[in-house]
Symmetry: C2
Subunit: 330 residues, 2 copies
Amino acid sequence: MTGLDLKKIVRDIREFEGLTRKKPIEDIVRIFENVRSDYQGTIIDFGDDAAVIGIGGDDVILFAADGIWGKITEASPWWAGYSSVLVNVNDISAMGGRPLAMVNILSTDNMDACEQLIKGISDGVKKFSVPMVGGHMHPDTPYTSISVAIIGIAKKDCIIRSDTAQAGDAVIAAYDLDGRLGPNSPYSWDTTSFKDPSQVREMYMVMQKIGEAKIATAGKDISNPGTIGTLGMLCESSKVGAMVDLDRIPVPDSVDLEQWLKVYPATGYVLTAKEENASECIRIFRDAGITAAVIGSINDSRRLEIFNEDSKATVFDFNSDTITGINMDF
Amino acid sequence: MTGLDLKKIVRDIREFEGLTRKKPIEDIVRIFENVRSDYQGTIIDFGDDAAVIGIGGDDVILFAADGIWGKITEASPWWAGYSSVLVNVNDISAMGGRPLAMVNILSTDNMDACEQLIKGISDGVKKFSVPMVGGHMHPDTPYTSISVAIIGIAKKDCIIRSDTAQAGDAVIAAYDLDGRLGPNSPYSWDTTSFKDPSQVREMYMVMQKIGEAKIATAGKDISNPGTIGTLGMLCESSKVGAMVDLDRIPVPDSVDLEQWLKVYPATGYVLTAKEENASECIRIFRDAGITAAVIGSINDSRRLEIFNEDSKATVFDFNSDTITGINMDF
């Protein structure tokens, strides 16, 4: 694809609010750092989609929490409730885990918004077949917000982490392209609300299959920072760099690349794998109805660079940049 | 104790905001009800301090979430952060579980309040020795709030539930009386912030010991609704009544009974046990530094009544009253 303004793309990605909001994580991690080493049961904590908790034996518990951006809650309480389930299921699925249960924290003083929000949660619960087993409600707050925490289970040696990519690995981007933008945000690609629950469940098992096949070196679900921003977070925590060919990124027919790079694709992953395992990863994605392609490779430069046939540009240089700051100093 | 105005005590308990805030739980439960039966792994969900999730084998995962009342967050962000750990540890401990890990959701646009709040969380993490393994931060909300979710582990057959009290059981109230009121609320009894972590940890193991000894029939930690309000929730979910002798409730020297009944005692439990096991429960509490006494008994009236030497009054009649509404209709 010619005519892309790579400098503008870089600026857009770096200044995109979906990415810059990740910054305060750095400060929080620093404060909690001093209690991490006390605890023997934890295998991974901050920095991955979910924390991994050893419970003895072969299984581990995955544990994550995610809240929904205030802007989305205001635009559509139903979509906020629905998305609060989707993003949490993604946190577990992306690591190769099976979601077990969720709890929620709801704050509101607006009973109309609250009702739509709860309807959205309930529809999400049915769609993804993960039960909401408890929660806490603040019925007297001057705002409406929803946060959800989730637990899942996985075999200890089948987890897909995000801090384990290695120089030489292929970078794969995978998306369910059968979706639609909005209606509540130009950066939200809905791939689930109009699909049958059994179809959605099947699709969300894909990372578990890849995890159990032990053919990925690292992976992460594509979240608010978009495809390149998410790959940036993966590179940052793996202490590596990457080179990405923009022309190889799968893009829906109805969306242009510049926008697509900032979209939350609902069912979307960046994955790294040894070159010889990349085609098997892509096959497993395809069997689940997900379009995947090798879009580049991991190197040891600690820079994330993008190119197309015209030009090349550096998006992040982790020798000086930080996204979350995790794994940079300890 | 003479001169108590039981009618005023009843009115105070019924109208206490710590209790009436529990009401909206009813509506939420009704909405989620339709997805509960789909899920085989869940043993208990809404209505107990924590949900119980089967994972195969003898162990179960306990899973709970709690947020901190906005009033407390405004009064002292440090205390709100500290308490967010304490109340969640209580949710697991009260059921006889061992806390494993927490995640948090922090919303703020006030970096000063946020810093104090995180300091409070961090101090709570050190005090209770439960790691904070992840979280989500909303750095751009027009308010400051903190919510925490927690997981714990327990032996399936050693869990102390709150819906299993039976007519004829003794009712035990147990408190750490070595504490102090406030400073941020006249209804908050602080028993931990000034104590050594090892002492606090030992104390919070007490329900695990009682659970493993299999000598309790039901139990619950005393939360915002206070001693009688919490016992009311236990009676409501167990579909039983209780008769409580106010004169037998352990009260700190520095606090009068009317106030004590509305206090969140930090380390406080209501427990039910067969008459013949009550003294063993009280001994285990005493060994942990907790003052416990039989304060009444469970009956099948579905009314919670209080009395002292002068008079008697009905606090809740669950034939018509609801606190949370849980277990009333299904």
